[in-house]
Amino acid sequence: MSKDSRSPHDKLLQNFRDVPLFHGLPDDALLVIFVASEERIFRAGEVVVKEGAEGEELFLIGRGAVDVVINFGSTKQTTVGKLGTKDFFGEMCVIEPTSRSATVFATETTFIYSIKSSTLNKLYQIWPEHQTTIMSNLSRGLAERVIKGDPEYELTAY
């Protein structure tokens, strides 16, 4: 068996390098985000964010799966999305202050990194050019989701 010669630091950073939202960011920027992020574990059924709550964090799924639902816990409950490893959610808060538009809960044991919008704002102060990179990556991911929900959008989006 070949031994993984990468340092623990490098292995941890790799989790962030592989996330499409952070593609194109150099390691020093990833390190700032990684150090400021908080890793949390959610068991199946546990709520990560609640619809209507104020939000100031973006969430990255390190490993696991979540459901995105509207009207959680009521007879009107509707699943509007399913996300998995390396997907992100709660993205609106990094664009503008807003309340959560849906409830997200883990459907299996899930490792989630929460990243405060203030962390990204600090990053942009040091490296303004990274704002464009992150926003481009964010838009790419969002465009895919819009097209999935409304295939006609792709006809005029490009």
Binding site: V68, I70, N71, T75, K76, T78, V80, G81, E91, M92, I95, E96, S101, A102, P128, E129, Q131, T132, M135, S136, L138, S139, R140, L142, A143, R145, V146, G149, D150, P151, E152, Y153, E154, L155, T156, A157, Y158
Partner: protein, 153 residues
Amino acid sequence: MTAIEALKKQPLFSWISSAPLEYLVEQAETRSLLNGDILYSAGSPGDAIFLILEGDIEFAHSLGPDKILNKGTLFGECSVIEVKNRRCEAKAKGNTTLLILNHEVLYNFSEKFPDPYSIVVTNLARCLASQIRDLNEKKATTRVEQKDEDNSK
């Protein structure tokens, strides 16, 4: 309405000051098409933003009835972040004039005005996130109506 006034009305260009917008309009191509003229074909690279200054643009596709965009509408906005091949043909419906911001213009804009360009990309993310919210709400409403209909049977 002038091209710059039409551009200012677009959510994609919200919060952008006059100087960068004037630069964009100066660099942009203005193209006039006659009824039925083809703007682009299916499969061509989607590498430009279009703003309809006059007339309509028709998109023929297999997903449903032809889609028509009218005067004052902007399309091709995702070309700011990536170039994908276009899914269908676009042609003029009636005499039509467009403002075209091609890849080169957008690239030069990003180099000359990095901060306004970053705002444009952020505006795109904001528009897309808003569309996702609308789609989710629509999906939830449809499901509830469907459940109500099923319950009443």
